[in-house]
């Protein structure tokens, strides 16, 4: 029996469907990330799990028990809201202690637990501080401490780093992951940022238009996106339409590509994904090592990005492809005709 199981959730606001049959399951101590563009329904899904929204269909099961009739304040799920929703009339420790008061703990227990939480998130000195005087990062930590304090059975984080600036995000992301791992908290994180999802999650569920498009480990997701939408959302933009010719070749505007097309029928329309890394520029006319695929084209743009060059190549089939070349290679100039060598591993075939 799964720790948390979600079965066929449908939810719409007025005539706009937001969730269209979402199902997923997760185990204890797992960190699941729901990744999707804005408007994909991920926040609504989180609010359904918390009990703040009621689905029209489907159910949320916690350790096999249906939570349909369990109201939000009795679920004992912690939730961190997008803008943190700190109580402005309470100070830092008052915020953290709120859930503990609701549990009916004694004064000394509350003080002890509040202290523990403050040191867990590294805010020992700020207990009496007014929440309006906190920086963005401090607010995030107080919100985390507040949601963890009353021993929640599941933690829900809605864009936990959403409103912070870039540099701070990376630091807090690391801290967040360490804290959650240390206390073994079962967590669902909602985010629109794939880098954030890769950094924090054991499992990622990609949501698109109210449905779960793919759910897998970060590595598998990146290596084998289920469909072009998922690939695009992960930042993989070199997508080429093609038709399966034989079991190991696909006809595309780039020419015949020799890649295995397992699981696809002959004559089937497919999309070929070419990864932007794992590519080498062929300096002269020498033919590459056997098994490598070559693509010819003209360099349209070349951008130095520090660690790499971002190169746009218009191929002979007038298809625009983008590649990242290591910065220690010789940079091509705009207008050059180049030959690119791809290893078969750089190519994925999708329906």
């Amino acid at each position: 029996m799964a720790f948390l199981e979600i079965k066929g959730i449908f939810k719409s606001f007025g005539s706009t469907p937001v969730l269209r049959g979402v199902s997923l399951a997760m185990e204890e101590t797992q960190i699941l990330c729901i990744l999707g563009p804005s408007g994909s329904g991920k926040t609504t899904l989180l609010r359904v799990i918390a009990g703040l929204e009621h689905p029209e269909q489907g159910s949320v099961l916690f350790k096999g028990r249906d939570l349909r009739n369990t109201r939000p304040h009795l679920r004992r799920f912690g939730m961190m809201f997008q803008e943190y929703a700190l109580f402005p009339h309470l100070d830092v420790s008052g915020n953290i202690a709120f859930g503990l008061h609701m549990l009916g703990l004694s004064r000394s227990e509350i003080a002890k637990r509040t202290g523990e939480m403050l040191s867990l998130v590294g805010l020992q000195g700020l207990s009496g501080r007014n929440v309006s005087e906190l920086s963005g990062g401090e607010r995030q930590r107080v919100a985390l401490a507040r949601s963890l304090a009353p021993y929640p059975r599941l933690l829900l984080l809605d864009e936990p780093l959403g409103s912070l600036d870039r540099g701070l995000r990376e630091k807090l992301l690391g801290d967040l992951r360490k804290i959650l791992r240390r206390i073994g908290m079962t967590t669902i994180v909602v985010t629109h940022d794939q880098a954030e999802a890769f950094a924090i999650a054991d499992t990622i569920a990609v949501m698109d238009q109210g449905e779960i498009a793919q759910m897998d480990t970060p590595e598998n997701l990146y290596r084998q996106p289920a469909n072009p939408e998922v690939a695009r959302f992960l930042g993989l933009v070199n997508l080429v339409r093609g038709r399966v010719e034989t079991g190991s070749s696909i006809a595309t505007p780039l020419g015949l590509l020799h890649v295995p097309a397992h699981g696809h029928e002959r004559g089937e329309e497919v999309t070929v994904l070419i990864r932007p890394d794992a590519v080498v520029i062929c300096e002269n006319d020498e033919s590459g090592p056997t098994g490598m695929i070559t693509i010819e084209g003209i360099v349209h743009d070349c951008l130095f990005k520090g660690r790499s060059y971002h190169v746009e190549v218009i191929t002979t089939g007038s298809q625009a492809l983008f590649f990242d070349l290591p910065q220690n290679t010789l940079a091509p100039s705009v207008g050059d005709r180049v030959r690119l060598l791809l290893s078969p591993g750089a190519i994925t075939v999708m329906p």
Partner: protein, 557 residues
């Protein structure tokens, strides 16, 4: 600031300061000297009487508790509506919200007449019940009772709570109470432990404002309460006009002035605390559309009850003014314009309309003459001068109209300023009541003219005077119009000061209504209804015009 600029600024406020000195502080001073030294010598006998006789204490006690009870009732009834307006988006919302404010701007005589038209012995409901069920006497007997006073106060002040608390509430993110729920608080606990404490400054400020209005209520108590009930305001009027006990009236006025200043001081402090504590959210995140059937029931149910409560007295007024013994007709309206001979007036009521309009126009001009220079002066930060003069110019707001009217009759009745017999005394009092509103209407507009626009006009070669005329003034047209309409509306409905000052042969519309209401006979009653309807339409039209013109999402109360 250059010295020449200072000199110009002083010239700017010289006239308003002189006006304030002669027509506000001098009457106030006369009240003080009459209360504390009636014969020219120190003799606080009247003040001592105030506290030694039980009747004054009873008046004070009644004034306080009816105001407190009215405030609590208004709060209880308006909070749910404030929630609905804060949390939902629905079609027609801003129009409905504007309409809920109409009672607040109506003259007190109109409100009294409207409640009489709905629930009085000669009112619609009683008439209907008697016709339908065959009662021989009116079954609803709330005229001249506390119930009608309380209802009128709730009717009046509903919008104050709805606007201030609703606006405050709409800036609080709903996730705040969701966070409390997820942390284990039941919905009830979440309200008391989170929503209510966060709302508290707004609730306190709005409640105090309602309390102040009810504490200084005059027309409603005088007309709806009848002889049994008296607030300090009504007592001042009775002591001065019916009993000619001027020292006693002065002592009561002193008491009232002290209370009003104290309340206003607390209110200003509260308002300041209401603006800190949390960062306001945008309405996009805090409001939601009507989606479920529950939403529909909550929103439209609230709107229905709201309009029923606020609309039915006004509708009854109109219906009552049109229904004569012989069916629906304009009989009462026609009667206003002819002297039937049966009237105690020796001038037709239509003349009262003429006087009211005349007074209102004079008030409009004078209020702009006083208010515009004050607003220009206050629009720039001039350091100490601004922080001293801003509250000084707003002081008349904290003084009740009755005190003002009384002050005028004790102060302006002897040379060199013998204005008792002059017609100008009425618009002078109205101007004092109206010009703070003019200042408050113009000021935001003036302050919103960005400095860089002025500066770029200067750099383009326009002299400072020309900048004002060519750049600032055109941008100000709207707020000037708002101020003008405000002054006109305040004047045309003014009752508390006018009842002291208007000569019997030159009555205003509110006075004429008050007299008609006190007379027997269907014709007099019908004419009171007809005049009230006209006054209501004029005031409501003025107000809705203001609402349309207003730039910002909320006015400054």
């Amino acid at each position: 600031m250059r010295p020449s600029g200072n000199r110009a600024a002083i010239l700017l406020v010289a006239l308003p300061l002189a006006f304030l000195g002669v027509f506000y502080f001098y009457p106030l001073f006369e009240i003080f000297s009459l209360g504390l030294a009636p014969g020219g010598q120190w003799d606080p006998g009247a003040i001592a009487d105030l506290f030694s006789t039980g009747s004054s204490l009873r008046i004070l006690w009644f004034t306080a508790w009816q105001a407190a009870l009215s405030t609590v009732l208004t709060l209880v009834l308006a909070l749910p509506a404030a929630y609905v307006f804060a949390r939902y988006r629905f079609p027609g919302k801003s129009l409905i919200q504007s309409c809920t404010a109409i009672p607040f701007v109506l003259p007190s005589v109109v409100v009294a007449a409207a409640f009489s038209a709905l629930l009085g012995a000669r009112g619609l409901l009683n008439e209907w019940l008697m016709g339908m069920w065959g009662f021989s006497s009116p079954p609803i007997q709330i005229e001249q009772s506390l119930v009608s006073i309380l209802m009128a106060h709730v009717f009046y002040n509903f919008t104050v709570i709805l606007r201030i608390v609703g606006n405050f509430w709409s800036r609080i993110h709903p996730d705040l109470s969701h966070a409390a729920l997820v942390l284990g608080a039941s919905p009830w606990k979440a309200f008391w432990k989170v929503t209510f404490p966060v709302l508290r400054p707004g609730i306190m400020a709005a409640s105090l404002l309602v309390f102040i209005f009810c504490f200084s209520s005059f027309g409603v108590i005088l007309i709806l309460g009848g002889p049994r009930y008296a607030t300090i305001e009504v007592a001042i009027y009775r002591q001065a006009v019916h009993l000619f006990n001027l020292p006693m009236a002065a002592a009561l006025s002193l008491l009232q002035i002290c209370f009003m200043f104290a309340f206003m001081w607390v209110y200003t402090r509260l308002q300041r605390s209401a603006t800190v504590a949390f960062t306001p959210e945008s309405l996009k995140t805090t409001q939601r559309d009507i989606v479920t059937n529950t939403d529909r029931l909550v929103v439209w149910g609230t709107v229905f009850l709201l309009l029923l409560f606020l609309g039915s007295p006004l509708l009854a007024l109109v219906v009552r003014s049109l229904s004569t013994g012989s069916g629906v007709s304009l009989l009462y309206y026609r009667a206003l314009f002819e002297n039937a001979g049966q009237s105690v007036f020796y001038i037709p009521p239509a003349a009262a309309i003429g006087y009211s309009v005349g007074f209102a126009l004079v008030t409009l001009v004078m209020s702009l003459c006083i208010g515009l220079p004050v607003a220009i002066f206050l629009s720039r930060d001039r350091g100490l001068a601004t922080s001293l003069l801003d509250p000084l110019f707003m002081l008349p707001l904290a003084t009740s109209a009755v005190t003002l009217g009384f002050g005028y009759i004790v102060a302006l009745d002897e040379p060199p300023l013998n204005l008792r017999a002059s017609l100008i005394i009425v618009p002078l009092a109205h101007t004092l009541v109206a010009y703070p509103f003019v200042v408050r209407s113009i000021l935001p507009g003036l302050r919103s003219v960005p400095a860089h626009i002025r500066e770029s006009a200067l750099l383009l070669g326009a002299a400072p005077g020309k900048v004002w005329w060519k750049v600032v003034a055109p941008m100000m047209r709207r707020s000037l119009a708002v101020g003008a309409v405000f002054a006109f509306t305040v004047s045309i409905g003014e009752f508390g000061a006018t009842i002291f000052l208007a000569r019997p042969e030159v009555p205003t519309v509110p006075l004429a209504i008050y007299r008609f209401l006190g007379l027997p006979g269907a014709m007099n009653y019908g004419q009171a209804m007809a005049m009230s309807t006209i006054l209501m339409l004029v005031t409501a039209a003025g107000f809705l015009f203001l609402e349309k013109l207003r730039t910002g999402p909320e006015g400054e109360f």
